[in-house]
Symmetry: C2
Subunit: 143 residues, 2 copies
Protein backbone atom coordinates (compact mmCIF):
# COMPACT_ATOMS: atom_id res chain seq x y z
CA UNK A 1 0.00 0.00 0.00
CA UNK A 2 1.67 3.17 -1.16
CA UNK A 3 1.07 6.30 0.88
CA UNK A 4 -1.03 8.41 -1.42
CA UNK A 5 -3.95 9.15 0.89
CA UNK A 6 -3.96 12.20 3.14
CA UNK A 7 -3.85 9.99 6.22
CA UNK A 8 -0.98 8.03 4.71
CA UNK A 9 1.01 11.16 4.02
CA UNK A 10 0.48 12.38 7.56
CA UNK A 11 1.64 9.05 8.95
CA UNK A 12 4.68 9.17 6.68
CA UNK A 13 5.52 12.72 7.75
CA UNK A 14 5.28 11.64 11.36
CA UNK A 15 7.66 8.75 10.85
CA UNK A 16 10.15 11.01 9.12
CA UNK A 17 9.85 13.61 11.86
CA UNK A 18 10.42 10.98 14.51
CA UNK A 19 13.49 9.84 12.61
CA UNK A 20 14.72 13.42 12.49
CA UNK A 21 14.24 13.83 16.22
CA UNK A 22 16.04 10.57 16.86
CA UNK A 23 19.27 11.94 15.38
CA UNK A 24 18.93 15.57 16.45
CA UNK A 25 21.78 16.37 18.86
CA UNK A 26 19.83 19.03 20.73
CA UNK A 27 17.01 16.63 21.37
CA UNK A 28 19.39 13.98 22.68
CA UNK A 29 20.92 16.50 25.02
CA UNK A 30 17.52 17.55 26.29
CA UNK A 31 16.57 13.95 26.87
CA UNK A 32 19.58 13.49 29.10
CA UNK A 33 19.41 16.82 30.82
CA UNK A 34 15.68 17.04 31.39
CA UNK A 35 15.85 14.32 33.99
CA UNK A 36 15.10 15.65 37.44
CA UNK A 37 18.15 14.20 39.14
CA UNK A 38 20.67 14.74 36.35
CA UNK A 39 20.77 18.48 36.79
CA UNK A 40 20.85 18.22 40.56
CA UNK A 41 23.79 15.81 40.48
CA UNK A 42 25.55 17.96 37.92
CA UNK A 43 25.05 20.97 40.16
CA UNK A 44 26.21 19.09 43.26
CA UNK A 45 29.39 17.80 41.65
CA UNK A 46 30.02 21.05 39.79
CA UNK A 47 29.51 23.53 42.56
CA UNK A 48 30.17 21.58 45.71
CA UNK A 49 27.76 20.59 48.44
CA UNK A 50 27.12 24.18 49.47
CA UNK A 51 26.29 25.18 45.89
CA UNK A 52 29.19 27.63 45.84
CA UNK A 53 32.81 26.93 45.28
CA UNK A 54 34.43 24.78 42.68
CA UNK A 55 33.77 21.28 41.45
CA UNK A 56 34.83 18.47 43.70
CA UNK A 57 34.45 14.69 43.90
CA UNK A 58 31.75 13.36 46.18
CA UNK A 59 30.95 10.00 47.65
CA UNK A 60 27.76 8.09 46.99
CA UNK A 61 26.50 8.61 50.51
CA UNK A 62 27.39 12.28 50.38
CA UNK A 63 25.30 12.77 47.26
CA UNK A 64 22.55 10.74 48.80
CA UNK A 65 22.51 13.01 51.84
CA UNK A 66 22.71 16.21 49.83
CA UNK A 67 19.94 15.31 47.40
CA UNK A 68 17.66 14.38 50.23
CA UNK A 69 14.73 13.52 47.99
CA UNK A 70 16.43 10.97 45.78
CA UNK A 71 15.81 7.24 46.11
CA UNK A 72 18.74 4.84 45.98
CA UNK A 73 17.38 3.47 42.76
CA UNK A 74 17.29 6.83 40.99
CA UNK A 75 20.63 7.98 42.36
CA UNK A 76 22.39 4.86 41.13
CA UNK A 77 20.52 4.81 37.85
CA UNK A 78 21.30 8.47 37.15
CA UNK A 79 24.97 8.16 38.11
CA UNK A 80 25.30 5.13 35.84
CA UNK A 81 23.74 7.02 32.95
CA UNK A 82 26.05 10.00 33.47
CA UNK A 83 29.05 7.70 33.64
CA UNK A 84 28.00 5.96 30.44
CA UNK A 85 27.79 9.33 28.71
CA UNK A 86 31.25 10.33 29.89
CA UNK A 87 29.96 13.19 32.02
CA UNK A 88 30.89 11.70 35.37
CA UNK A 89 33.72 9.40 36.41
CA UNK A 90 33.35 6.70 39.05
CA UNK A 91 36.30 5.73 41.22
CA UNK A 92 36.34 2.75 43.54
CA UNK A 93 38.86 2.67 46.39
CA UNK A 94 39.16 -0.82 47.88
CA UNK A 95 39.01 0.13 51.52
CA UNK A 96 36.84 -1.78 53.99
CA UNK A 97 34.08 -0.99 53.51
CA UNK A 98 34.54 0.11 49.93
CA UNK A 99 34.74 3.83 49.07
CA UNK A 100 33.25 5.13 45.83
CA UNK A 101 33.63 8.69 44.60
CA UNK A 102 32.02 10.45 41.68
CA UNK A 103 33.51 13.40 39.88
CA UNK A 104 32.66 15.51 36.85
CA UNK A 105 34.79 14.84 33.79
CA UNK A 106 35.98 17.73 31.61
CA UNK A 107 32.96 17.10 29.42
CA UNK A 108 30.62 17.06 32.40
CA UNK A 109 32.14 20.27 33.68
CA UNK A 110 31.62 21.99 30.36
CA UNK A 111 27.98 20.89 30.37
CA UNK A 112 27.63 22.19 33.90
CA UNK A 113 28.93 25.56 32.79
CA UNK A 114 26.41 25.62 29.98
CA UNK A 115 23.58 24.75 32.34
CA UNK A 116 24.46 27.78 34.43
CA UNK A 117 23.30 29.91 31.51
CA UNK A 118 19.83 28.47 32.03
CA UNK A 119 20.14 29.07 35.73
CA UNK A 120 20.92 32.72 35.14
CA UNK A 121 17.91 33.07 32.84
CA UNK A 122 15.72 31.43 35.46
CA UNK A 123 16.96 33.72 38.19
CA UNK A 124 16.30 36.86 36.21
CA UNK A 125 13.12 35.91 34.37
CA UNK A 126 11.18 33.27 36.28
CA UNK A 127 9.45 35.89 38.38
CA UNK A 128 7.96 37.28 35.18
CA UNK A 129 6.80 33.81 34.17
CA UNK A 130 5.31 33.22 37.59
CA UNK A 131 3.59 36.60 37.55
CA UNK A 132 2.08 35.86 34.16
CA UNK A 133 0.95 32.48 35.40
CA UNK A 134 -0.70 33.96 38.49
CA UNK A 135 -2.35 36.68 36.41
CA UNK A 136 -3.67 34.14 33.95
CA UNK A 137 -5.07 31.96 36.71
CA UNK A 138 -6.74 34.88 38.43
CA UNK A 139 -8.41 35.88 35.17
CA UNK A 140 -9.69 32.34 34.71
CA UNK A 141 -10.93 32.30 38.28
CA UNK A 142 -13.25 35.28 37.93
CA UNK A 143 -15.05 34.02 34.88
Amino acid sequence: MSTTSAAGKRAQAKIEYDAFLAVCPSRKLLERVSDKWVTLILAALGSGPDCQGGPRPMRYSELSRLLAGVSQKMLTQTLRALERDGLVSRTVTPTVPVTVTYELTALGLSLHETMRTLKRWAESHMDQVLASRAHHDRAAQSE
Copy 2:
Protein backbone atom coordinates in the same frame (compact mmCIF):
# COMPACT_ATOMS: atom_id res chain seq x y z
CA MET B 1 5.95 12.26 67.37
CA SER B 2 9.05 14.44 67.20
CA THR B 3 11.65 13.53 64.63
CA THR B 4 14.54 12.35 66.71
CA SER B 5 15.16 8.97 65.11
CA ALA B 6 17.52 8.58 62.16
CA ALA B 7 14.62 7.64 59.91
CA GLY B 8 12.68 10.64 61.12
CA LYS B 9 15.55 13.00 60.40
CA ARG B 10 15.90 11.60 56.90
CA ALA B 11 12.20 12.04 56.27
CA GLN B 12 12.43 15.59 57.58
CA ALA B 13 15.42 16.39 55.37
CA LYS B 14 13.52 15.06 52.40
CA ILE B 15 10.52 17.25 53.09
CA GLU B 16 12.73 20.31 53.44
CA TYR B 17 14.56 19.44 50.25
CA ASP B 18 11.30 19.03 48.37
CA ALA B 19 10.21 22.41 49.69
CA PHE B 20 13.47 23.93 48.51
CA LEU B 21 13.01 22.44 45.04
CA ALA B 22 9.45 23.71 44.91
CA VAL B 23 10.63 27.33 45.09
CA CYS B 24 13.90 26.98 43.17
CA PRO B 25 13.62 29.10 40.00
CA SER B 26 16.00 26.94 38.01
CA ARG B 27 13.96 23.87 38.78
CA LYS B 28 10.77 25.55 37.74
CA LEU B 29 12.36 26.57 34.48
CA LEU B 30 13.55 23.04 33.85
CA GLU B 31 10.10 21.69 34.55
CA ARG B 32 8.65 23.90 31.86
CA VAL B 33 11.45 23.51 29.37
CA SER B 34 12.08 19.80 29.71
CA ASP B 35 8.80 19.01 28.04
CA LYS B 36 9.34 17.42 24.66
CA TRP B 37 7.06 19.74 22.71
CA VAL B 38 7.90 22.98 24.52
CA THR B 39 11.36 23.27 23.02
CA LEU B 40 10.14 22.25 19.60
CA ILE B 41 7.40 24.89 19.60
CA LEU B 42 9.83 27.48 20.93
CA ALA B 43 12.23 26.60 18.14
CA ALA B 44 9.49 26.67 15.51
CA LEU B 45 8.16 30.07 16.57
CA GLY B 46 11.64 31.43 17.23
CA SER B 47 13.42 30.38 14.09
CA GLY B 48 10.64 29.98 11.57
CA PRO B 49 9.40 26.82 9.89
CA ASP B 50 12.68 26.21 8.10
CA CYS B 51 14.65 26.50 11.34
CA GLN B 52 16.56 29.48 9.99
CA GLY B 53 15.47 33.05 9.78
CA GLY B 54 13.81 35.16 12.39
CA PRO B 55 10.89 34.59 14.69
CA ARG B 56 7.48 34.76 13.12
CA PRO B 57 3.87 34.02 14.09
CA MET B 58 2.44 30.70 13.02
CA ARG B 59 -1.03 29.26 12.79
CA TYR B 60 -2.20 26.25 14.73
CA SER B 61 -2.39 24.09 11.63
CA GLU B 62 1.01 25.27 10.50
CA LEU B 63 2.58 24.19 13.79
CA SER B 64 0.67 20.95 13.61
CA ARG B 65 2.06 20.24 10.17
CA LEU B 66 5.62 21.25 11.09
CA LEU B 67 5.78 19.22 14.29
CA ALA B 68 4.55 16.14 12.50
CA GLY B 69 4.75 13.93 15.56
CA VAL B 70 2.58 15.96 17.90
CA SER B 71 -0.99 15.00 18.77
CA GLN B 72 -3.68 17.66 18.82
CA LYS B 73 -4.01 17.19 22.51
CA MET B 74 -0.35 17.83 23.27
CA LEU B 75 -0.07 20.74 20.84
CA THR B 76 -3.02 22.53 22.40
CA GLN B 77 -1.97 21.66 25.93
CA THR B 78 1.59 22.88 25.36
CA LEU B 79 0.51 26.10 23.66
CA ARG B 80 -1.88 26.83 26.52
CA ALA B 81 0.88 26.29 29.06
CA LEU B 82 3.24 28.58 27.16
CA GLU B 83 0.56 31.22 26.90
CA ARG B 84 -0.14 30.97 30.61
CA ASP B 85 3.53 31.52 31.33
CA GLY B 86 3.68 34.57 29.10
CA LEU B 87 6.07 32.99 26.63
CA VAL B 88 3.67 32.82 23.72
CA SER B 89 0.77 35.03 22.70
CA ARG B 90 -2.40 33.74 21.08
CA THR B 91 -4.33 35.85 18.61
CA VAL B 92 -7.76 35.01 17.28
CA THR B 93 -8.93 36.60 14.04
CA PRO B 94 -12.68 36.21 13.54
CA THR B 95 -12.65 35.10 9.93
CA VAL B 96 -14.75 32.17 8.73
CA PRO B 97 -13.47 29.74 9.62
CA VAL B 98 -11.60 31.26 12.54
CA THR B 99 -7.85 31.98 12.27
CA VAL B 100 -5.58 31.59 15.28
CA THR B 101 -1.93 32.58 15.32
CA TYR B 102 0.72 32.01 17.94
CA GLU B 103 3.78 34.16 18.40
CA LEU B 104 6.67 34.38 20.83
CA THR B 105 6.48 37.22 23.33
CA ALA B 106 9.60 39.19 24.23
CA LEU B 107 10.00 36.87 27.20
CA GLY B 108 9.58 33.79 25.02
CA LEU B 109 12.09 35.15 22.56
CA SER B 110 14.65 35.71 25.30
CA LEU B 111 14.15 32.14 26.50
CA HIS B 112 14.56 30.91 22.95
CA GLU B 113 17.86 32.76 22.71
CA THR B 114 19.01 31.14 25.94
CA MET B 115 18.03 27.70 24.70
CA ARG B 116 20.26 28.19 21.69
CA THR B 117 23.20 28.07 24.09
CA LEU B 118 22.22 24.50 24.87
CA LYS B 119 21.81 23.80 21.19
CA ARG B 120 25.34 24.99 20.53
CA TRP B 121 26.70 22.78 23.30
CA ALA B 122 24.81 19.83 21.88
CA GLU B 123 26.14 20.41 18.40
CA SER B 124 29.72 20.61 19.50
CA HIS B 125 29.77 17.99 22.28
CA MET B 126 27.06 15.40 21.75
CA ASP B 127 29.30 13.36 19.47
CA GLN B 128 31.66 12.93 22.42
CA VAL B 129 28.78 11.84 24.62
CA LEU B 130 27.58 9.40 21.98
CA ALA B 131 31.08 8.04 21.51
CA SER B 132 31.44 7.48 25.23
CA ARG B 133 28.07 5.78 25.30
CA ALA B 134 28.98 3.46 22.45
CA HIS B 135 32.34 2.68 24.02
CA HIS B 136 30.72 1.91 27.33
CA ASP B 137 28.17 -0.40 25.74
CA ARG B 138 30.80 -2.24 23.73
CA ALA B 139 32.82 -2.86 26.90
CA ALA B 140 29.74 -4.20 28.66
CA GLN B 141 28.97 -6.40 25.67
CA SER B 142 32.27 -8.30 25.74
CA GLU B 143 32.12 -9.21 29.40
